[in-house]
Symmetry: C2
Subunit: 265 residues, 2 copies
């Protein structure tokens, strides 16, 4: 099983940012619907336009997305109080994107998530900042997962994001992330890994090529959740193919099903 | 460094089989030239049409390919005497595809390759037949590489092909091959791995999608040589991207160079 989070409703995308500011319900709902039609299990909602209005906007996004589609939201904010506001009207079991090991953020997030069934993206950042190596990623992951489990968050609801950084900045960042995925999946059985992929290609041309190639490499290492554009057929085809090739598709049935639905290219 | 063998001059492809029978020089030479233009380091030549004429056809292929392009050939046959005939007129350092651990084939091939600088594809098959698991592949690889080294074939001239079999037959075959690549690259430092990829997708639709996705997964595991169609831009783009993402491209220079040459999609 590969969990797919549709990434398109993100205020950092120009058309979406404007639609949020102008409260254009239709634009947002169409994006939610088309992502669900293409197989998204969660709809990411990000309203990071301004600190003052983030909570209000995020709540509005959750409301209108859930008016339109049955899928739960992935509530995407570094701000615990905006997440709390958005959660207050969310129906079903949301995903929270994200908690980190930064003490202040961690302490404020825990009361919202402890004892719930929420799915939690655990991003490998601590108060020392961004990890560089695979080792650093893995050690933050271990500490963060242990801390969450101690707060009664079930391991199977935790999605570790090893932190994807651009290979244009440091050519080692791709392998550092891939190795971390492998170590996390091997040593913390039951928990999940997830990647917001697009950072990998920051600063380089033909970004979609790098993003989808990186997905197949990450699936080789055990990745079982992705934040992607479900409308990008080459991307979703790559995910489907990589799952088949990594033996996560009995008798190639999902691959053949996707083919029959016209979804492979 | 990724060594690229262009696979198109293969008698099992209908147009090529016919061109060989009819001795159409131009058709073959055009295929050689276009593959070199797209970055092939070796031109595979396969004349497996009939046992009687294979040696003669293979020799003809080597001759006309080398009349046209500077690249050496990858002489592709299970038949040692056909290889010997083709080698007799080959200029430069050829690649031989392939030797196996089958006693008869091994014993007949060794006199042709011992003490030479030829590059040797060592295919993981022994007298027990095709391997099923990663373990079986690895153990054949170990025996075969040791046997070749004992015959004075330098480790750095050996390209182990772990044997790609269709996931449509057994969903585990993809991972078995990938794991074998990783183990070979980690435990026999200096030798290489190579895959003839297209078997992976046998029996399934949209085969090019599976082939190129499998390449990126194999590169994640350390694969450093491929037998591909260099005219398939999505395939070559995937190879370029996977090398960058696996830190085999200092400062992303090859990726950017390929982009500037219009070669990425």
């Amino acid at each position: 099983m590969m969990l797919i989070v549709g990434e398109l409703i993100n205020a950092s995308r120009k058309t979406v940012g404007e639609a949020i500011k102008e409260q254009r319900t239709q634009t947002i709902q169409d994006l939610a619907q088309s992502q669900c039609d293409k197989g998204a299990h969660f709809i990411d909602v990000n309203a990071g336009l301004s600190i003052e209005k983030e909570a209000e906007y995020l709540k509005w996004l959750v409301k209108i997305v859930q008016q339109k589609v049955d899928a739960p939201c992935c509530i995407d904010s570094p701000n615990p109080s905006a997440i709390e506001t958005a959660l207050s009207i969310h129906k079903g079991t949301a995903m929270i994107n994200s908690i980190t090991l930064e003490k202040d953020r961690f302490d404020k997030m825990i009361p919202l998530i402890a004892g719930t069934d929420l799915k939690i993206v655990a991003l490998c950042i601590d108060d020392q900042g961004m990890p560089e190596t695979s080792d650093q990623r893995f050690h933050i992951a271990e500490k963060l997962v242990n801390a969450l489990v101690q707060k009664n968050i079930p391991l199977e609801n935790i999605y570790v994001d090893p932190l994807v950084q651009p290979v244009s900045t440091n050519i080692q960042y791709g392998m550092a992330c891939l190795d971390a995925i492998e170590r996390i999946m091997q040593s913390m059985k039951g928990c999940h890994t997830i990647c917001g992929l697009s950072n990998i290609s920051y600063g380089l041309p033909v970004r979609k090529l790098l993003n989808r190639t990186f997905v197949s490499m990450a699936i080789t290492k055990g990745l079982d959740a992705v934040i992607i554009d479900p409308m990008d057929t080459l991307m979703t085809s790559t995910v489907t193919a990589a799952l088949t090739l990594s033996a996560r598709d009995d008798f190639c049935m999902n691959y053949i099903k996707a083919y029959r639905a016209g979804g492979l290219s």
